[in-house]
Structure formats: C-alpha cells, structure tokens
C-alpha cells in the first residue's frame, strides 16, 4: 500500500451540513451520465473528502444489500451520517431534482415526436444501443461467478422464472434469495 492510500484511509472528521449535501448531490446528479456511482464516489471521496476510500466501499456494499436504487440508498445513508433526517432528505432531493426534470423533458419530446419520421429513427437506434449496454452489464457482473456452479444454477433459475414463466419479481426474490444465501452459507462453513 502506498503512503497516499494510507492517508486516504484515515477516518475523516468533516462538518457537512444539509446544504452541502444538497449541492454535492445536485452536482452528482447533473454529471451522472452513464451511471451515477463513479461520479458520487469522486465527489464524496476525492473532491470533498467526506469519506475515506474504505468507508465509502463499506457504505456502498451495505447499500447494495438493501433493496431499492443503490445510489439513492447511498445518498440517504450519507445524509443521515452527517445531518440526520434533514441530511437524508437534502441529499436525495439534490440527487434526483435535476435528472428528474431532464428525463421528463425527454419524455415529453418522446411523446410528441416518438412516432415522427424525423425522431422515431433516433429513438429506435437508441433503444438498440441501450440493449447492447445491458447485455454488456450482464456479462460483466456474471464473469466473476462463472466458475461457481451454485451461482450458475441460481442465476439460471432467476432468468428462467422471469423470462420463461413471467413470474413477478417479488416471488423470484422471495424464493431464490434465501435459498441462495443459505447455500453460500453452507459452502462457507
């Protein structure tokens, strides 16, 4: 470990107000093209030193375990840590305000021109590109688990339940998540 990383991992003691949280996350929301997480990490760890690298990773892994959008959970947790309930509300509002307005504007554009000659093709092409993006995401998250038979079985079951049997997500998660966790727990003993 280099000395730079060592200093980075010193616990941070910063005063962060609800106002700071709002504007910090507002910036993250506006910057967050193609996924917000990298931008959030950069703002929180590198630019403002609200958390160390390690603290951020711990917080993120907890937020990934909980249901709901991960980055929204991160903003809630961080807001709570520095400024309680007000902090959480400020952080979430800051994160979602700008992207919400932008997405709604795009939605209006789509409703008005989605079937038009000129823009219909743009939306069709974008749809195809976004599909490729999600295929790549699936490939990336699956790669570290390819050598684990138990993971393949569970993943295949989830895929089949959704695609072939059209099960609601709640049944898939309630059936497979405890099973899979119990399986990993047994293997880990």
């Amino acid at each position: 470990m280099t000395s730079a990383q060592l200093t980075d991992d010193q616990p941070t003691r910063t005063v962060v107000t609800a106002r700071d949280l709002f504007f910090g996350f507002l910036k993250v929301g506006i910057q967050g093209f193609g996924g917000v997480l990298p931008w959030a990490r950069r703002m929180i760890v590198e630019e403002r030193h609200w958390l160390s690298e390690v603290e951020f990773t711990d917080l993120l892994s907890l937020c990934q375990l909980l249901p709901g959008p991960n980055i929204v959970n991160v903003s809630v947790a961080l807001g709570h840590r520095f400024a309680g309930l007000t902090g959480s509300l400020a952080a979430v509002t800051g994160l979602l305000a700008a992207p919400f307005c932008i997405v709604i504007s795009l939605g209006m554009l789509y409703q008005a021109y989605g079937n038009s000659e000129a823009l219909g093709g743009v939306f069709r092409n974008l749809g195809a590109a976004a599909a490729g993006l999600v295929v790549a995401t699936a490939w990336k998250v699956a790669k570290p688990y390819i050598a684990r038979p138990e993971a393949i079985v569970v993943a295949a079951a989830a895929f089949a339940a959704v695609v072939l049997f059209n099960w609601p997500l709640i049944y898939v998660v309630l059936a497979l998540a405890p099973l899979s966790v119990a399986w990993v727990w047994r293997l880990a003993r």
Binding site: L62, S88, Y110, Q111, G120, A129, A130, V141, R148, P168
Partner: protein, 175 residues
C-alpha cells in the same frame, strides 16, 4: 385518464421498491411486466426506447420509473412513480444504517452479498434478453447493439459515444 392510475402506479412501485435488489438493471424485467404486460401502458418497443432515454440522460437509471409514470399518467404519474420507487427503500435504508453503524457484522454481510449476487445476475441477464428482443429487429440495430456491447465490455470508453452515434444516424434518416 382514469383517476385510479395513480393508485395503481403507487401500489406497483411501492412493492417493487422493497424487492428491488441488484440495482436498476435488475428490476427492468419487472418494470416491463408491469408496464407492458399487466397494465398495457406502452408497447414492447416503447418500453425499450424509453429505457434508452433514461440511460442517455444524466442521473440514476432508476428514473426509468418516472418515464413509466409519465407515460401512464402524465406529470403526476411521474412524481408518484418516483416517490413510490424511492420512498420505501430509502426509509428502510435510513433505519438500517442507524442500527448497522453500531452492530455491523462483516462476515454476515459478505455471505448475504455472495448469496444475492447470482439472483441479480440472472435478473440482469433477463433484462438484457427482454430489451434485445424488444429493440433489435434488423441489421442496423444488431450492429449498434453489438458495438455498444463491445465498447462497454472491452474498452474504457463511455458507451455514451455510441448513444451519440445512434442519435446522429437517426437524425440522418438512417434507422
């Protein structure tokens, strides 16, 4: 517009909020099931195109819910869907974080994480399948999809470059 659409949006997304493990991409199949198959708010293709818009815009990809809400019931629908999707999970996070800061157990957390990951992988693979089926119908679509996959999987360039290319081609009438 039927007034109960807002209630229906609320019910679907509150429930989804609490089972949405693995991030926005993992819940795409469920959003698709709700919006296309159960409620008929949009067609398969519209779903794929709105998903692309949510990805092309800055901000969390979960804002796909606000486009679904918007398509179903206008601006009020967008607000209701977004609050319903983020509210319950945020409350849960708020209370868990309060407790976890005192009694966190790394080993338990790691096992839960390892156990949930394969479920998430299956769900994201299902998203990939459904979106590909909805959005790719011809050679150009296949090429655009494959190029985005390659850029994302094997290079460090942002996939947004290909969103730009896709937009440019569309504006030139190539689609």
């Amino acid at each position: 517009m039927k007034p109960d659409v807002l209630g229906v949006l609320m019910r679907h997304f509150v429930l989804l909020s609490l089972v949405a493990i693995g991030g926005a991409n993992a819940v795409v199949p469920e959003m698709h099931r709700i919006a296309v198959e159960v409620e008929h708010w949009m067609t398969d293709r519209q779903f794929a195109e709105l998903f692309a818009l949510a990805n092309a815009a800055p901000g969390p990809n979960v804002l796909m819910v606000c486009l679904i809400g918007f398509q179903a019931a206008g601006l009020a629908g967008a607000v209701v869907a977004t609050v319903a999707m983020c509210g319950p999970s945020s409350l849960l996070t708020y209370f868990v974080v309060r407790r976890w800061e005192k009694h966190g157990n790394t080993r338990v957390k790691k096992i839960i994480q390892r156990g949930l990951a394969p479920v998430t992988i299956g769900l994201i693979a299902a998203s990939a399948f459904l979106l590909t089926r909805a959005a790719i119908h011809d050679w150009l679509g296949l090429i655009l999809g494959a190029a985005t996959f390659a850029l994302m999987a094997w290079t460090r360039y942002s996939p947004l470059w290909l969103f730009g290319v896709a937009t440019g081609l569309g504006l030139l009438g190539i689609s």
